[in-house]
Symmetry: C2
Subunit: 433 residues, 2 copies
């Protein structure tokens, strides 16, 4: 079954002396060949299938194609199972992420010639990066909008995930803001439900936001989940804007690249919060699928302003080192290569940095570690960790802010909690968790 | 790290005596709990995280939610690693696939409480199926459009995948049609390129189609790849229609659910061909991710008319039994449960059947097996298997049609090839492959 792919058409792509051009894309894969297939053969089949090749030689080919559009396997190391392929820039349409993914992250995952294949990273040439808008706001825009200059932003997700009606939702949001949350976010599976209608929820929650902003003097953010078929998503986003909202939240992976790109292109003037629900279906295995690092890069190219990248310490998978590299990738301008981590160099040119969001099983006791690993340019979100506080959501939000303050001042949570009872109660409830 | 999830909030969802209501969604998962976590605990955490739960108890909850919206683990079998969860219908928004996937196929894949998790199938209640359009044409519409009543349709993909200019592309298409192909399809990574502009390609290729229809008296189909950001995709589709095209081809997974749904909702009057590039990043492992069966069901709900489901015999993975179940799922009205294969029952009501497409490493010698396993309601596509013919694309297409004719008449390819030299040449070139 495998032999057919050892054909002329997939071969001859290796040239380790080739130096990628400035207009080339360079992709790094981790490859496990099928039984009886050499590492070189599988590497060249991947290069071919993701660009100009097929499983057999064809009469329709012309020599020009091999000369101008053929990919080159520039690095391959069977010990680390790593290959790098340089692709001529003309293989890709500018500003079209689905086309990029159909090429480099398309058929290759299903080829019998490999047992497992993981796409780790793509280094994008400048011309391609320039064909995208990047974030409209990003970290500087959000810092300026909130007036919060240096501390992490603190957010909550309304819990339970589903079931509250519009009024209960707005009330929970109000309490979280009042206690000190900067941000209140819908959950990823809350859109417009029979028990909680989108329009009603937005109106009531934004009304509570206005009240709370007056009472606290702080800027308060509500991130409504607009996830839906494209036109309905845009209609909901415009509804949010018309009712005084500043943000929209999108489940970027279940919505998909085509709609996400267009939503950004609409320039609605709303800050885009990107939730990554579903990513771990293909990012979790380190042997197969696509890295979260690459997904994060695509989100920066397209131009989301905030992106969930993992909390390191919470209920979700994602190792410390992996999350730190993703954090860097979305927030820095120049990325250095780290071969051992399958991270390629990147120059983000003038694309704004994306605000990293850490969420999932977070509570106040986790905050010092999160800030240590991820810095201050982070949005710390806790759902259960706010609304699960023994004294309720207001106390829960207070405890979160207290933990951030303590860490900003270099004081341990234990010491800080002596004069801050909400923090003390939170630490007690979630001790050892 | 795992202990935190053994909390009250995720528990109490099991009730094996519960009989799912007519409005419930039933999902089947394959679960591998993390070390030290019981099967029951992990099952309930999955049920909670995909609906109303979180990792800790929250003060914002109200008893009403547990009563009306809680999921129920109705089946769990640690030996087969299988669980089934019934979800109340109100947890899902009608006509919103991204919301469905953010719930049932969202955060759950990343939970530390499981090492691997695969979503196998979802049985949709009638009210939900009725909220989708399904295919506008489907098998009956395509049979009627082509006038081909009972044999498989034969298609080719223009090869090389990338590199031909518009004129070469149109010429290769002409030859394939002339030889007997019903269908010519763009490759999945061909959109609008510097070396092959979308508009020019469409105009020239459709012109060749018109010529060839006159010459052969057969209906000839061109499937242009419109994969792009949403509005550009719609613009390209309209361009195709304005120039006399009947089809559009979309890479449904790299485009994503939100744009695909809206493209269907646009009712452009074009038949939709769905390519599944990228699926194997999350469908290939049988231990983690999402089954291709479910992806195929979502495509039928949304309403693509043709869908790649695997060739069984070609260069791409996908076992015989798996592909046969997918074939049934998209083409039949009533699906019987097959517990050993993780297939749930389904009643597709009046949603039209989707034409299954078999592609990837196909050549004439494979056709008898494909028709045996997949029946006559199948679109057999060969790229290299047509353009790789020793005597060129015309001969390649002839050989494909000869193989279909032979099989329709119950004659072996060897016998049929005695009077059909193109078939004989194809069998010789690809012998043993």
């Amino acid at each position: 079954m495998i032999s057919m792919q050892k054909k002329e058409a997939y071969t001859g792509f290796t040239n380790k002396k080739y130096k990628p051009k400035e207009t080339d894309f360079v992709a790094e894969f981790r490859v496990e060949p099928a039984r009886g297939v050499s590492f070189k053969t599988s590497a060249e089949a991947i290069a071919g299938e993701s660009s100009v090749g097929t499983w057999t030689d064809v009469c329709t080919s012309v020599p020009r194609i091999r000369k101008t559009l053929a990919p080159t396997v520039v690095y391959s190391n069977p010990k680390t199972k790593t290959i790098r392929i340089a692709y001529p820039g003309d293989l890709f349409e500018e500003g079209n992420i689905p086309q990029l993914m159909s090429s480099i992250a398309g058929n290759v995952f299903g080829m019998k010639i490999v047992n497992n294949l993981r796409l780790e990273d793509i280094n994008f040439p400048d011309f391609y990066i320039k064909s995208f808008k990047g974030p409209a706001f990003g970290i500087p825009g959000i810092r300026s909008f909130t007036g919060v200059e240096d501390r992490p932003l603190v957010g909550t997700i309304i819990k339970p995930k589903l079931g509250l009606n519009e009024k209960e939702h707005a009330k929970a949001a109000y309490n979280a803001w009042l206690g000190g949350c900067d941000i209140v976010k819908d959950d990823e599976n809350l859109s417009s439900m029979k028990f909680n209608n989108f329009e009603k929820r937005i109106k009531q929650t934004l009304k509570m936001r206005n009240t709370c902003e007056k009472e606290t003097g702080e800027v308060k953010i509500y991130m409504p989940n607009v996830t839906a078929p494209y036109k309905e998503m845009v209609r909901r986003a415009k509804f949010v804007r018309e009712h005084g909202g500043d943000y929209m939240m999108v489940d970027v992976l279940t919505v998909g690249w085509s709609a996400l790109q267009e939503l950004r292109n609409e320039n609605l003037g709303l800050i885009i919060h990107a939730h990554r629900a579903g990513h771990a279906a293909f990012t979790r295995s380190h042997r197969h699928g696509i890295s979260m690092l690459l997904i994060a890069k695509l989100c920066r190219l397209i131009g989301v302003d905030q992106l969930h990248i993992g909390a390191i310490v919470g209920k979700m998978e994602g190792g410390k080192r992996e999350v730190q590299f993703i954090d860097q990738e979305v927030e820095k301008q120049l990325i250095e290569a780290s071969p051992a981590d399958h991270v390629l160099k990147e120059d983000w040119l003038d694309l704004k940095p994306v605000f990293a969001v850490a969420s999932g099983g977070v509570h106040p006791g986790k905050i010092p570690a999160m800030m240590k690993y991820m810095g201050n340019d982070i949005i710390i979100q806790a759902g259960g960790g706010v609304h699960g506080h023994p004294n309720g959501s207001i106390a829960g939000a207070k405890a979160m802010r207290q933990a951030v303050s303590a860490t900003m001042h270099g004081v341990s949570l234990e010491d800080f909690s002596k004069a801050n009872k909400e923090l003390a109660q939170a630490l007690k409830k979630w001790k050892g968790i």
